[in-house]
C-alpha cells in the first residue's frame, strides 16, 4: 500500500495531526502511519469516510510492548589528558524509553484495497492512555478490551473497557514483556535451563 498520498490526504483534512510514516523493511511492504492520540479519532473518521479511501473495515487491532532500549555509541573526542591533547574514546549511552503500541490493520470492503496499517503509541510505559477507535469501527471493541486486559493500555472513549480474557480479580498484564509467571510449579522434563533452575530451587534438600 503506497502511504504517502494517504498521509497528504489526512493532513489536508485533519490539520494539526502529528503523522509519521514507518516503513516496513520486510518484503510485505505493509507500511504504517503513526498517529497521535488527540487526533486519532478524527484521522480514523477521515480514513473511513473519505472518497477514494473508504477504509470501512478494521480487520485487526494488535497490542505491542516495546521495552526500553539502551544503545551505546563510541565516539573519538579530543581531550586534555595530563597536559597533552589526545584522542579519547567516549562512550555515550542513549536510552530510548519503551512504549506500548496499538496497531490497526484497515481494509476497504467498498473499494477492495488494503491493508493500511495505523499505529498509535504511548509516550512511555507508565502513561498508558490512548484514544479508542471503537466509535469509528465497531470491530475494535473486543480487541481494544483485550489489549487493556493483557497490556494495561487504557483506551479513552471505549464504551465498555474491562477485562476480556482474564478474570476480574487478576491484577497483572500478562502479555507485557516483563511479566513474571506465578510459581505454580510442576517439573517439566525439558532441557531448558530455566526450568531446571526452578526445579532445583523447589527440590533443594530432596534426595538426589
Amino acid at each position: 500500500m503506497i502511504v504517502e498520498p494517504i498521509v497528504e490526504s489526512i493532513k489536508a483534512a485533519v490539520p494539526g495531526a502529528a503523522l509519521e510514516i514507518v516503513l516496513n523493511p520486510s518484503p510485505s511492504a505493509q507500511h504504517s502511519i503513526v498517529v497521535d492520540a488527540t487526533h486519532a479519532v478524527a484521522v480514523a473518521k477521515h480514513l473511513r469516510d473519505a472518497v477514494g479511501l473508504q477504509f470501512d473495515y478494521c480487520s485487526n487491532v494488535t497490542g505491542v510492548d516495546w521495552l526500553p532500549k539502551e544503545t551505546s555509541t563510541t565516539t573519538k573526542v579530543k581531550r586534555m589528558v595530563d597536559g597533552v591533547e589526545q584522542e579519547v574514546a567516549e562512550v555515550t549511552k542513549t536510552s530510548t524509553p519503551g512504549y506500548f503500541e496499538a496497531v490497526y490493520h484497515l481494509y476497504s470492503v467498498a473499494l477492495r484495497h488494503g491493508p493500511l496499517v495505523l499505529r498509535m503509541r504511548t509516550i512511555d510505559r507508565e502513561q498508558t492512555h490512548m484514544a479508542s477507535l471503537t466509535p469509528v469501527w465497531r470491530s475494535a471493541e473486543f480487541q481494544e478490551r483485550e489489549i487493556f486486559d493483557l497490556y494495561g493500555v487504557h483506551f479513552d472513549g471505549h464504551p465498555d473497557l474491562r477485562r476480556l480474557l482474564m478474570w476480574d480479580e487478576f491484577t497483572d498484564h500478562p502479555m507485557r514483556r516483563d511479566y513474571v509467571d506465578p510459581d505454580d510449579y510442576e517439573y517439566e522434563p525439558t532441557a531448558h535451563a530455566e526450568v531446571l533452575e526452578r526445579a532445583r530451587k523447589h527440590q533443594e534438600g530432596a534426595p538426589s
Binding site: N24, S26, P27, D56, S59, N60, T62, F142
Partner: protein
C-alpha cells in the same frame, strides 16, 4: 465440610447487569452448557423469555498462544496454530504459513499450491458439515443430523490421516509448501469422497432445508444489517449473509484461487436461515473447486528448496497475512526482530470478532433463539480465546 459448601454457593464477583429492577432475571448461560459450543459464557438478563441484555464472558479457554509463541521458533509455532480453530487445523496452518511467506517473500511450488487448495477446501467441507450438524442439534433435532454429519466428516478425516498422519492436528503446511507429499492412492480416494459428497448434500437438503420447523425458527432470527456487519468486522459466511460480497479468496487472490471460477453465495436478510443456506451453497462451490483441482494437480516438488523451515530467521519487519478460513477471515500478524523467534505473534480471531454483535442480534429474541443465533455464528472457543 462447611468450607466446601461455602465454595459451592459462593458466586464470583461479577457486577450485576440489572439496575435494581426486580422483574428481570439474570442468568448465566455457560460455561458448561449443552449448547454453547465449548466453554463460552453469556450473562443474559431476561424479561420473561425475552433477552433484555446480553454480555458475553470470554477467557475460559485462554491458552496463551501469543505468549507461548514468543518463546518458540517460527516452525515451533506451527503445531500451535492447529489448536486455534481445532476443527479446521489445515486452514489455520495455511494462514500462518501465508503470514510468514508475506514476511519473507517465499515462493511456493505448483504442486504445493494445489495440495493447499485441496486440503483447504476439504477442511471447508467438513467444517460446514459439522456446523449444520451442530446447528440442528441446537435446534433440538437430538443428534440425528449430527450423526449424519459426523459420518461424512469421518471420511474426510480418514483422508487427512492418510496424508498428514493425524485426524485433527495436521501440522501440514510449511513455509514454502507442504510437509509431505500424497501417499500412493490418496488422490484416487479423495476423488471417490468428492464424487460421493453431492449425494450426501442432497440428502441433507431434502431432509432439512424445506423443513417447516427449521424455517420457522431461523427465518427473521438474528438479523444483521450490511452497515453494522462491515463496521463490526464480520467476515466469512456471517458477512456474506448480509449481502456484502467480500470473500478473501476473491479479493486477495492468494494461492492460485484465481484459476478457479467459483461463485460466492450471498444472502439477502442476514438472518440465521441465510447463514445456514450460504454454508450449504459454499459446500457445493467447494466441491467444484475440488473437482477442478483434482484434475489439474501437476507433479513436482512440494517445498521451496531455498527456505529452511527449521533454521528460519526472517529479516526485521512485519507482515499481516490472512486467508478465508471456513469461519471467516483468519489473519496472523507477525513482527520479526531478526531472530529465530517472533517478537509478536498475533492471531486475528474470526470467531471472536464475529461475536462483537452477539448482543445486537439477540436483543428482543427468546432464550431458544439465542442458542440458535450463537450456533449460526459458528464459533470455536480455541479461536475466540486463543
Amino acid at each position: 465440610m462447611s468450607s466446601t459448601t461455602q465454595g459451592i454457593l459462593d458466586v464470583s464477583a461479577q457486577p450485576s447487569l440489572i439496575e435494581g429492577d426486580p422483574q428481570l432475571l439474570e442468568l448465566s448461560m455457560g460455561p458448561q452448557h449443552p449448547s454453547t459450543h465449548g466453554v463460552f459464557r453469556m450473562n443474559v438478563v431476561l424479561d420473561g423469555e425475552t433477552v433484555v441484555k446480553l454480555k458475553p464472558v470470554f477467557g475460559y479457554l485462554h491458552r496463551n498462544h501469543e505468549k507461548i509463541a514468543e518463546k518458540q521458533t517460527y516452525l515451533g509455532c506451527m503445531p500451535y496454530t492447529d489448536r486455534l480453530d481445532y476443527i479446521c487445523s489445515l486452514t489455520n496452518n495455511w494462514a500462518y504459513a501465508r503470514a510468514v511467506e508475506e514476511l519473507a517473500a517465499i515462493k511456493i511450488p505448483e504442486r504445493a499450491e494445489y495440495l493447499r487448495i485441496i486440503t483447504a477446501e476439504l477442511t471447508r467441507l467438513q467444517n460446514h458439515t459439522c456446523l449444520v450438524g451442530f446447528l440442528m442439534q441446537d435446534m433440538g433435532a437430538s443428534g440425528t443430523p449430527l450423526m449424519y454429519a459426523f459420518r461424512e466428516r469421518e471420511k474426510i478425516l480418514d483422508l487427512f490421516e492418510a496424508l498428514t498422519g493425524a485426524r485433527m492436528m495436521c501440522n501440514y503446511m510449511r513455509f514454502g509448501g507442504c510437509r509431505v507429499d500424497t501417499p500412493a492412492g490418496w488422490l484416487a480416494e479423495t476423488q471417490k469422497v468428492i464424487d460421493a459428497y453431492p449425494k450426501f448434500l442432497d440428502e441433507f437438503e431434502k431432509l432439512l432445508t424445506s423443513n417447516e420447523i427449521l424455517m420457522a425458527r431461523t427465518q427473521g432470527v438474528g438479523k444483521v444489517s450490511k452497515e453494522l456487519a462491515v463496521s463490526a468486522g464480520l467476515s466469512g459466511p456471517m458477512l456474506r449473509a448480509c449481502g456484502v460480497n467480500y470473500d478473501i479468496r476473491k479479493v486477495d487472490r492468494y494461492g492460485i484461487y484465481e484459476r478457479f471460477p467459483f461463485r460466492v453465495p450471498l444472502g439477502d436478510h442476514g438472518d440465521v436461515y441465510d447463514r445456514y443456506m450460504i454454508r450449504l451453497l459454499e459446500m457445493r462451490e467447494s466441491l467444484k473447486i475440488l473437482q477442478q483441482a483434482m484434475r489439474e494437480i501437476p507433479e513436482g516438488p512440494i517445498q521451496d528448496p531455498a527456505t529452511k523451515p527449521r533454521l528460519f530467521r526472517p529479516k526485521v519487519g512485519e507482515a499481516y497475512g490472512r486467508i478465508e478460513c471456513p469461519k471467516g477471515e483468519l489473519g496472523f500478524y507477525l513482527i520479526s526482530d531478526g531472530t529465530g523467534t517472533p517478537y509478536r505473534f498475533r492471531v486475528r480471531p474470526p470467531s471472536l470478532i464475529n461475536l462483537t454483535i452477539l448482543e445486537d442480534m439477540c436483543l428482543g429474541a427468546t432464550v431458544a433463539d439465542v442458542v440458535i443465533i450463537l450456533g449460526s455464528v459458528d464459533i470455536v472457543l480455541g479461536e475466540v480465546d486463543r
